[in-house]
Amino acid sequence: MGYFGNIWDGIRTTAQGLKLTTSVFARAVTKGSYTLQYPEENLPIDPVTHRGIHEYDVDRCISCEACAKACPVDCIYIESAPDAKGKPTKGKVSVMTRFDIDYSKCLFCGLCVPPCPSECIQLGARYSLPGHTRDEMVVHFHEGGYPVAEKTDHAKKMIEEFRAEGLYAKKRAERAALGIPTLRPADG
């Protein structure tokens, strides 16, 4: 292929490419483009499978620390109020004084979800948590997490039990006595 052949090839293949891009452009003009105007428009998110910011029911938590043990980066910090003997409370009656998740460390892997015996923690559909400092990346879930959206029969039964025993109101009152407000009640 000679010198002019090369030039001709360049022109020919470029013209082919331009023909293609023009057709795509025409399609975009007539049928709309592929892009979205974020943040005014958002992509649809599957609320069940999406692994976003945690949904957590502080009143149903039994402070077993299974999620903290499963966490590969140790980003979950759990403390519960001491009982009469000074030991941290466990089980149904436990009152959470600290349930912090450090989102600067969190991998959003979802390994904290399956071990939970009371199914009070899940990864939800929210994903946006901008902040200016590292401290802002720590979320105090004990002051009110989002209720878990996806409830299994086991979880529903547990909620009924908790309600019947009046544990939701009791725990909230106990936390208030410790100076922890409940900003967003869960399944109360």
Partner: protein, 196 residues
């Protein structure tokens, strides 16, 4: 041809310098002395029965009293996989002959092993750190290597953990609430994607 047969070939050629031929359903390996390590590598590469033309992986394992250098070889023409091992004389004398003369591809693998494990490869043309910075001290994959406290003014994880614990103790002592942080996830700024 499996590890046992290749081990037999090596035994035939190197005799007592082949120390261990092992195979189970998971993995197989042949361990040779350091003396014949490079020679055995060259033999495995050049012998028409084996032809391991590709060094797949080179690494080392810290077994506390010595290091074990592990080579994974691959023969593309004969479709064979093989694992060759050798041990360093001791933990303090963590040296091993380099196989860069046999497989040039061993260059970076040996640099990495030196960098992270601290096995010095004798005969390597340019044994420098590769993944870590040049002024790093220690070899992090050794089992006795602790977490560094500080590097150029950046606190290490050990220092951070210590500081966190101290802060926690102070808080408990003073009963003060934690500074910073978000009261709940719904305090995130309003115009954001996920919160809509």
């Amino acid at each position: 041809m499996d590890t046992k047969e290749i081990g037999a070939l090596l035994k035939e050629r190197f005799g007592d310098d082949v120390l261990d031929v092992f195979q189970d359903d998971r993995h197989g390996h042949v361990r040779v002395t350091q003396k014949v390590f490079v020679e055995a590598s060259r033999f495995l590469r050049d012998d028409p029965r084996t032809r391991f033309e590709q060094l797949h992986d080179l690494t080392a394992v810290d077994w506390i009293d010595h290091f074990e250098v592990v080579l994974h070889l691959c023969s593309l023409s004969k479709r064979l996989n093989f694992c060759l091992k050798t041990r360093t004389p001791s933990r303090d004398d963590a040296t091993c002959p380099s196989v860069t003369s046999v497989w040039p591809g061993a260059d970076w693998h040996e640099r990495e092993t030196w960098d992270l494990m601290g096995v010095r490869f004798i005969g390597h043309p340019d044994l420098r750190r590769i993944l870590l910075p040049e002024d790093w001290e220690g070899h992090p994959l050794r089992k006795d290597e602790g977490n560094p406290l500080e590097y150029h003014g950046i606190p290490g994880i050990a220092a951070i953990r210590g500081a966190e614990e101290r802060l926690r103790e102070e808080e408990l002592a003073n009963k003060t609430s934690r500074a910073g942080g978000r009261p709940g996830p719904d305090r995130a700024p309003a115009r954001t994607g996920g919160d809509a």
